[in-house]
């Protein structure tokens, strides 16, 4: 699973420009499912047809990034954020654009570092002037962070574990289920623009009209020095979501998930995420409502270029999804 994860986290796919990561995932899932489609928003939908209820599982494939808003006469590039970005996190980072252009982040002179804001920062692509900068980037180009993944023991340090970790879990679950009969129809959706407000999942869920919904994403932890209080630790198992800002997990779905984990000896933690939300939010409010839940991979330093997660949590998340999809979901939940 390390190779798969490395491929996914290092792929380019900032919110609003997901075509490269979509191609990477498409190659992984083709052959594992009956049909692979892309909808109007750009969501990649891998479909396993058959009998039983329609189950949608969403993993967002976009990552946080930046968008070019202005190029000045000296060749410096002004930008805005695509998704939640702290300006302090940008100092010393590198951004990469679709055409491979790499830039460093710089900032205007500040009297107090607390005054740092994105509109006081710029990207320096090494251009001598505005004209040569415009040959490399254009207004509207969306860039992502440039970082390699590093594996150390059971842990991985990488950009975009949010949410390529979830993508890896979903792809791996499809791989393990390939060729096996299951009593559900699966719509594995690699969604776009989650970081901009859970947008891709909304239209995908409307189109699929699922009977049951799940999301797989990352979640915060409370296991670092002076961390915010949160009963989630790296390496203690994937989390089963109880609530976040946009969803209260359907009680039958939650009970089914915890029972399935216990029955199969899969470690899990319960997740109450105080800030943030995930694709389960729009899914559960689709049409007449969809009973929905979520599994998350505990991750430290989310929305930085150096996020950290434990491979065992991802492997156990795969096991849990495989067990969920092998169950008769219509009897268990509906």
């Amino acid at each position: 699973m390390k190779d798969l994860l490395k491929k996914l986290v290092e792929a380019f796919g900032p919110a609003g420009n997901e075509s490269r990561i979509r191609d990477v995932i498409r190659k992984e899932v083709e052959g594992l499912v009956d049909e692979v489609t892309v909808d109007a928003m750009g969501n990649l939908i891998a479909i396993r047809r058959g009998q039983g209820p329609r189950v949608m599982i969403a993993a967002h494939m976009d990552e946080i990034g930046v968008i070019v808003t202005h190029i000045d006469d000296e060749g410096f590039v002004r930008f805005s954020n695509m998704g939640g970005i702290s300006p302090f996190m940008l100092i010393g980072q590198r951004v990469i654009f679709d055409n491979g252009t790499i830039g460093a982040f710089g900032m205007e002179k500040l009297d107090d570092m607390k005054d740092l804001k994105l509109n006081k920062m710029f990207i320096d692509i090494g251009a001598k002037d505005g004209a040569s900068a415009k040959e490399k980037v254009s207004i509207g180009d969306i860039g992502a962070f440039h970082r390699e993944a590093h594996f150390q023991g059971d842990r991985v340090i990488a950009k975009s574990l949010d949410n390529r970790a979830g993508c890896a879990v979903l792809v791996q679950a499809l791989k393990e289920l390939a060729g096996r009969e299951i009593p559900n129809q699966v719509y594995a959706v690699f969604t776009v623009q989650e970081e901009l407000g859970l947008r891709g999942a909304k239209t995908a869920a409307y189109g699929i009209n699922p009977d049951v919904g799940f999301a797989v994403d990352v979640t915060g932890t409370g296991d670092t020095p002076e961390a915010p209080t949160m009963a989630v630790k790296l390496g203690e198992g994937p989390t089963i979501k109880v609530k976040d800002r946009v969803v209260l997990t359907h009680p039958r779905v939650r009970r089914f998930m915890t029972e399935t984990a216990e029955k199969n000896g899969i470690p899990y933690q319960l997740e109450i995420l105080e800030g943030g939300g995930t694709d389960t939010g729009p899914i559960h409010l689709t049409r007449e409502g969809v009973p929905s839940g979520a599994i998350s991979v505990p991750t430290r330093y989310i929305h930085t270029p150096s996020e950290m997660a434990d491979m065992n949590d991802m492997k156990n998340a795969v096991k849990l999804f495989v067990a969920i999809l092998e169950a008769k979901l219509d009897e268990a939940i509906l």
Binding site: A15, D72, S80, T203, G207
Partner: protein
């Protein structure tokens, strides 16, 4: 003149009927069907080939404004904002209250009576009231009632060589662009759905339900957007500049524009020698934010006329940008007729 009539019309969010009536009268002779939906959107259809795509063009009719909340015993009115109103621009402005346009003034304690600490900071909305000249509550109640919308009493004026001043260019200039396109004596080989939306300023509400019922294949929203090309603003924070042509959006806080449509618009503009500019900020949102997430997703873009001092009693546009927005969109519609949708 359309810009004058539209910008002077009364149309606080949720009370767009006067604007809708003007637009209905203007576009009806040129459209196959004109109707009003449950939320007050005015929908004007020009039929095309049944098998052709459905192209939705939209502009919002509503303007930001105020609403009467309470009538004091003294006959003055307490109010709240509707949409994004900057309370600092309100003091001493002339307003019209309600559809009958009862004239009034936004009053506040004069400078002579203010304590030093009061004079140092702007009034907030709770410190302001509207005086319609009523002697007491009974007299005021004969003229106005809680729930009445309130607009700025600004007259349209041509100023400078090509510019115009008015309230509510956001988004009556967009309404005028859309009306002019619908009033072209022309049918295309695709169905054109012109939607004058309600309640954009309070969250893109009209556009959401209209696009749900119309199910277009592509949507273009016309806007009057922020232009901050003024002293005190740094060039990279201008957003747009007056006179440089209509502005195309790549992304704002509410959506990411469909890059294929943006590309087609640029091609069409270049080919026809129509100036355009990119909107260089990602703040703010429009009807496109709601439209693109309707049903299974609708590829959408925004085309804007740069507008200085939006959401204030007096904003300024360059009429060349307005005319070029119409030219660009007419050429874009022709490109769909000739080449189909850009995806």
């Amino acid at each position: 003149m359309l810009l004058k009539t539209l910008t002077e019309a009364f149309g606080v969010s949720g009370q767009e009927q006067e604007v809708a009536a003007i637009l209905r009268e203007q576009v009806s002779p040129y459209c196959d069907k004109v109707e009003t939906d449950a939320l007050g959107n005015l929908i004007a259809i020009k039929n095309g080939n049944e098998k052709g795509p459905k192209v939705m063009l939209s502009a919002h009719m509503d303007e930001i404004g105020l609403m009467v909340m309470y009538i004091e015993n003294s006959g003055t009115l307490r109010f709240k904002p509707i949409g994004g109103v900057d309370p600092r621009v309100l003091v001493s402005k002339s307003v019209y209250v309600g559809k009958d346009r009862v004239p009034g003034v936004i009053g506040a304690k004069p400078i002579h009576l203010q304590k030093r600490e009061e004079a140092d900071k702007p009034f907030d909305i709770d410190g302001l009231f509207i005086d319609i000249g009523a002697k007491d509550k009974d007299e005021a109640e004969k003229l106005v009632k809680p729930g009445d919308g309130i607009i700025f009493a600004t007259k349209y004026q041509d100023i400078g060589t090509s510019r115009a001043k008015a309230k509510a260019f956001d988004d009556r200039v967009g309404c005028a662009v859309l009306a002019r396109l619908l009033m072209m004596d022309k049918q295309w080989n695709f169905t054109l759905q012109g939607v004058f939306t309600a309640q954009e300023e309070v969250g893109g509400r009209g556009a959401q339900v209209a696009s749900y019922s119309l199910e277009p294949d592509i949507a273009i929203a016309f806007e009057g957007t922020t232009a901050s090309d003024v002293p005190g603003s740094k060039e990279h924070l201008y957003s747009t500049s007056l006179g440089k042509g209509p502005a195309l959006t790549h992304a704002d806080a509410s959506f990411v524009a469909d890059p294929r449509i943006v590309k087609r618009l640029m091609e069409v503009a270049d080919k026809n020698g129509i100036p355009y500019q990119m909107r260089e900020l990602t703040t703010g949102g429009t009807d496109a934010g709601r439209i693109h997430l309707v049903r299974e997703g609708i590829p959408a873009v925004v085309v804007s006329v740069p507008t200085r001092y939006i959401h204030s009693p007096a904003s300024i546009i360059d009429k060349c940008d307005f005319e070029n927005a119409i030219k660009l969109m007419a050429a874009f519609l022709d490109s769909i007729e000739e080449r189909g949708l850009p995806f």
